[in-house]
Structures are given as structure tokens and as C-alpha cells.
């Protein structure tokens, strides 16, 4: 039994009676861990077909009349799982036609644009606060993680060239550090530079894969590679592994992947590993990553035009 198969069997055994998964064993199902588990199973759809069917049914219980997905009894404004659900359903074979309502919902959500404010002058001169991306919750600022998921999902359903996708890509490049990686969204707060964080940096890399050619993307690959190489944390390792698999064009990255696989296998042996982390590990070890988008018809386009940020 391969490590990936073993993790999938563990995940299947941790499903809730409703078919979904919570962040932790025994906790109520939530769309995000349910989607991550489903993405893990997408690599072996035949063997786990009943598990996937029950998981999708659980996910549908969070499907809203507006086409979005959110925790059914959660905060109504927190619609950020919509893009994750769209990407997941597409990875499991749903057609863009079937997903029309959810695609429209993703496209209709816009992040709040900051107005001129003396308190945020430093931020306004560092990043382009007029760019529209996706928020965690309605009427909030656009952050790296929800914007990355939205861009990834829209690209997966064939909307690579949609203006929202393109502006999302622009926002992500705008928020990445010249030295690589991204924080949750801000590069500067009250005059002090923030620092990159492995998780959002990795998800950003998944969103921009094959779409743009920019030094910040290369630097971010380097940042995620360095972080993954020295980490023992399962979540950082798994996100790093899936991001690097989508950017494995250089020898240093390709050489690191087997080492990361071994570290992920070792870290995931902990019987107390949360479902969320277990699903990420299974996705990372899958023989076919659901996060690697099909090669675009054309070679990577140059970065969308935007004014480079001034030096920090």
C-alpha cells in the first residue's frame, strides 16, 4: 500500500456520518476540509467513488441559492469557500456548464477598494490598492489566499482570459515581495515591512502557475523551496510540495521533491494529525496533483502591466 493510499484510507475513515469532513476528527463538516479531502481522493476516483459521492453530497449542503458555498450555519458574509468548491468540483469532473451558477457567484464577488487615507499612505505607495480581488468575507479587502483560490478556480474552468482572472493575477503579483513569497496581503504596515508566510505564498504560486513570467514568481519559488527544505511542519511541507510540483522547471526544485515526500510521509504518521493537514498531505503525495493546471494553449504570457512597486 503506497503512502498516498494509506493516507486516503485514513481520510476515508475520518469522514463524518454526513459524508463531509471537519477540520478535526469528530468536528462538524466544513466546506474547506471537505474540499481538500475530495481533492485528495480525485487522484483515485475509481477506488473511492462512494466516499467521493458522499463527500460531494455533504458539500452540496453548503451550496447557497446565490450559487456560492459557505458553511450553512456560519457567518453569511464568509463566502470564501466558494472558489475552493468550484475548483474541487471541476477537479472531480463537473463541467463549466454544470458549474455556471458558482462561476457567476465567484465573478460577482469583488473585494473592497481602499480609499485615500492618511493612515495608509505607506501602503498606498507600496501596493496598488485600487486592484480588485477577492475577500474572505463580503465587502472586505482583497487578500492573497482567497484571491489565489478564485484565480485558480476560474482558470480551471477555462476563464484564463477573463478580466477578473487577469486582474486577480495582477493583484497577486502586486502583493508578492521582490524577495519572494507573500504575506496575507499587505507588504507594509505603518512603515514596517511585513514578512512572507509559507501557506499563502504556496497558494499564490498555484494561482500564477504557467500564466505569468515575472521575477517575483521566480523569487517566490525560491522562497517556498527554502522554507519547505528546512521545515518539519506538515502543513508547510504539503503546501510547499504542491506549489513546487506546479513550478518544477528547475533542477533544484525537482531534486527537492523526493526529500519533501519523505518528510511529509514521516510527519503524517502522527496519529493525531488533523483532517485538514492529513488531506493536504494526501494531495501532496498524490501521483497526479489536482493543483497542476493543464498546460495553457499558449506559452506563459508576460506579466499583466502594472507599475512596479518602489523599493522598500
Amino acid at each position: 500500500v503506497s503512502a498516498s493510499q494509506e493516507l486516503l484510507s485514513r481520510l476515508a475513515g475520518l469522514a463524518n456520518p454526513d459524508g463531509g469532513w471537519g477540520y478535526h476528527a469528530g468536528k462538524a463538516s466544513h466546506p474547506e476540509p471537505t474540499c481538500l479531502a475530495l481533492l485528495a481522493f480525485s487522484a483515485d476516483r475509481t477506488q473511492f467513488e462512494p466516499v467521493i459521492a458522499r463527500g460531494l453530497a455533504a458539500l452540496e449542503r453548503n451550496h447557497q441559492s446565490d450559487g456560492g458555498y459557505r458553511l450553512a450555519d456560519g457567518r453569511p458574509q464568509a463566502g470564501w469557500p466558494t472558489a475552493i468548491a468550484l475548483f474541487t468540483r471541476r477537479a472531480l469532473g463537473a463541467s463549466p456548464e454544470e458549474l455556471k451558477g458558482t462561476i457567476e457567484r465567484v465573478l460577482s464577488v469583488e473585494s473592497r477598494v481602499m480609499e485615500k487615507d492618511p493612515e495608509t499612505t505607506d501602503m498606498e505607495t507600496d501596493i496598488d490598492v485600487s486592484l480588485v480581488g477577492w475577500p474572505w468575507a463580503a465587502a472586505n479587502f482583497g487578500w492573497v489566499e482567497p484571491t489565489s483560490w478564485a484565480v485558480l478556480a476560474l482558470r480551471a474552468v477555462g476563464l484564463e482570459n477573463h478580466p477578473r482572472t487577469q486582474q486577480g493575477l495582477k493583484l497577486l503579483l502586486d502583493r508578492a515581495f521582490d524577495s519572494g513569497g507573500a504575506n496575507y496581503g499587505n507588504r507594509i504596515v505603518l512603515g514596517t515591512a511585513t514578512e512572507p508566510i509559507p501557506g499563502p505564498s504556496a497558494i499564490l504560486l498555484l494561482a500564477v502557475q504557467g500564466a505569468v513570467d515575472h521575477p517575483r514568481v521566480d523569487a517566490s519559488v525560491g522562497y517556498v523551496r527554502v522554507q519547505a527544505a528546512k521545515s518539519t511542519d506538515l502543513e508547510h511541507l504539503a503546501w510547499g510540495r504542491v506549489a513546487l510540483a506546479a513550478h518544477d522547471t528547475d533542477t533544484a526544485t525537482r531534486d527537492l521533491l523526493p526529500e519533501l515526500d519523505e518528510k511529509i510521509r514521516a510527519a503524517a504518521r502522527d496519529p493525531n494529525t488533523s483532517i485538514h493537514r492529513l488531506a493536504l498531505a494526501a494531495v501532496a503525495l498524490a501521483t497526479r496533483s489536482p493543483f497542476v493546471l493543464k498546460a495553457p494553449a499558449q506559452p506563459a504570457a508576460p506579466a499583466p502591466s502594472y507599475a512596479p512597486a518602489p523599493p522598500l
Binding site: H24, Q77, A78, E119, W143
Partner: protein
């Protein structure tokens, strides 16, 4: 929001205003300051001595206790978080007092990967030593609560089921300056009781609505029963993340979080009347702010007070200095 929604919101606002008028400040606003020169002192014993003054009003025996540390971000060269040795001592106190169940719970505003923070900061090892469970509030089950503060104009807050299920909630912050709030202490620490799955990373809605207003709403809706401040080594300057360590050598304890935080501010040389959060919290009767209304136990403030350097741009966030020349220090 339709017409019906607006009417319902108005009605809820009136109801909350009525409830607020009936609210009484805590029975006692006494605050105890104990000397603790370093993290190697017998901190559990020091806390036990302090707790003698509060046991009658807030017994821990037989209770389900939730300890909320301040675990924000881990950088090995900075004193960002409540020191794990203080959490160790608080757990020791709870055990000594006979708590039925002890849980440590946190929902960091910046890092989703709280397991990484726990392990790297040393908190995971402390919990393992004690056999104490950790709950990741960011991914905990949310419960819709009527917002009893309404300063943010939000009708409801979504809070952690684990936090709401506590018989005793202990807020255990670190003594720090904060570039937006002025100070971050036991009231601000409760930002982390709202799940990230409802508000995101960071909890952006609460920033838009006003940080002091959000802090007060959270504490009106479900505040701490006991506050213990790690003031052994605090952070001055560009807090809460980029400041520098400042040794004070104290542990602060009290049942009234406003009084505890006001005392913490005074220990940092900051007039609490300048901190919007504390002024709003006192106005909402979460606790008392005036020094003459706060019985001082243990060490006097003057014996341990330090002049903390403030974040560079914080003046614009604070209420004006009450008298000329009473501005903040360096």
C-alpha cells in the same frame, strides 16, 4: 438588507441598549501586581499567592477553564507571544485549584497554521507536559451571538463554541504596545476568540469597523472572567510584532479586565485615558478605568513602572493628552 432587516436591526439595537443600561461593572476591580524577576521564578506559586485575593469571586475548582494566551506569530528573535512558561504556570494554578477541565485555545489573526506556532513557540511542549488539550479557535465551530456592544454596528458576532462553553475564561496576554490600539492586553487579546473561518486572516471586518470598537463589542458579548498579564518581559516600540523587549518583572492579575489593562498601561507609562479601547470599555461598564477606583494589591505601580517607547505613528490613534506636556514618552 431589506426593510424588515433594518427594522429588526433597530429593534436589536434598542434591546441591547436596554441591556447595557442594566449592566453593572464587576464587583471588584482590585488588581494585584506581583514581582517576577524572570521566567525562571516559581511562577505557579506567585500566581497562587495572587489568586488568594480572587478565589472567592472566581473559583476554579470543578470548573471548565479555557485559557486564552496571546499567540500571534513566531519569530525566534522577538517577544511577540505570551511566554509559554507563563501559560505553564497558569495551567499549574488551575490544576492546583482543582479545575475539572483545562483547555488552551487561540485563533491567531495572521497565521492560519497554529500548529506551527504552537510547536515553534514551545507552547505545544507545555501542553503535552500537562496533558492539556489545545483548540484552534480559527477553525472551531462558530456560534452566532447577539452583539452586546454595538459600537461596530454589527448585529451579531460569531464566536468560538469552545470559548462560549467555558465556565471560566482566562485572558493571558503579554504586556505590549500596539501600533493601532496603543496597547494590547487582556481586552485586545479576545480578538482571537472569533474564528478566522468567519472573519478571515486577518480579521479584516473588525479592522474596518474600528479596532477599539471591535474589542469592546467582543468583550461586552463574552469577556474574560480572569485576566493575567505576562509583564515579565513586555514589548515596547513598534508592537505588536516588530517592537523590542522591555523587562518589567511583573505578573498582573484581576477580575476586571479594564482595571487590569489600565494598570498595565500605567506600568508602561501610558495614561489609560488616552487609549480609546479602555475609555470605551469603561463607558460600556465592562470595568473601571480611574486609578482611585482600582484597589491596588501587591506591589504599587510606581515600584515597577517603566517608560515604554511607543509605536512611531500611534499618537493619531489615541485620545489627546489631558494636559500640556503629558504626551507619551520617547
Amino acid at each position: 438588507v431589506g426593510l424588515f432587516g433594518k427594522i429588526a436591526s433597530k429593534f436589536r439595537g434598542l434591546m441591547v441598549a436596554g441591556i447595557s443600561k442594566l449592566k453593572q461593572p464587576p464587583g471588584t476591580s482590585a488588581v494585584h501586581i506581583a514581582r517576577a524577576a524572570s521566567y525562571d521564578e516559581p511562577l505557579t506559586d506567585i500566581l497562587a499567592t495572587q489568586f488568594e485575593h480572587f478565589r472567592a469571586a472566581c473559583p476554579l475548582a470543578g470548573k471548565r477553564v479555557v485559557i486564552k494566551p496571546n499567540l500571534v506569530e513566531y519569530r525566534p528573535d522577538r517577544v511577540i507571544n505570551t511566554d509559554p512558561r507563563v501559560i505553564d504556570a497558569v495551567i499549574g494554578l488551575c490544576k492546583k485549584e482543582g479545575a475539572a477541565e483545562i483547555i488552551v485555545a487561540e485563533g491567531p489573526g495572521h497565521w492560519r497554521n497554529v500548529h506551527f506556532l504552537m510547536k515553534e513557540s514551545g507552547l505545544a511542549a507545555v501542553l503535552e507536559k500537562h496533558g492539556v488539550r489545545f483548540v484552534d479557535i480559527n477553525h472551531d465551530e462558530p456560534v452566532k451571538m447577539l452583539n452586546l456592544g454595538r459600537l461596530t454596528r454589527l448585529d451579531h458576532l460569531y464566536m468560538s463554541r469552545t470559548v462560549l462553553g467555558a465556565d471560566v475564561l482566562i485572558s493571558v496576554p503579554k504586556l505590549k504596545t500596539h501600533h493601532w490600539a496603543g496597547v494590547t492586553l487582556s481586552l485586545k487579546n479576545l480578538f482571537g476568540t472569533l474564528p478566522g473561518i468567519c472573519y478571515g486572516w486577518p480579521k479584516n471586518e473588525l479592522h474596518w469597523r474600528g479596532i477599539p470598537q471591535s474589542i469592546v463589542d467582543i468583550n461586552c458579548t463574552h469577556g474574560p472572567n480572569l485576566a493575567i498579564v505576562d509583564a515579565i518581559t513586555g514589548m515596547e516600540g513598534d508592537g505588536p510584532l516588530h517592537g523590542t523587549p522591555k523587562h518589567v518583572g511583573a505578573l498582573i492579575m484581576g477580575l476586571d479586565p479594564v482595571a487590569v489593562d489600565a494598570t498595565g498601561a500605567r506600568l508602561m507609562g501610558i495614561p489609560p485615558e488616552r487609549i480609546p479601547t479602555l475609555v470605551y470599555a469603561a463607558a460600556k461598564r465592562i470595568g473601571r478605568l480611574a486609578e482611585q477606583e482600582i484597589p491596588q494589591l501587591g506591589e504599587p505601580i510606581a515600584a515597577l513602572a517603566q517608560k515604554f517607547a511607543m509605536p512611531p505613528l500611534v499618537e493619531r490613534e489615541l485620545f489627546p493628552a489631558p494636559t500640556p506636556g503629558a504626551g507619551l514618552g520617547s
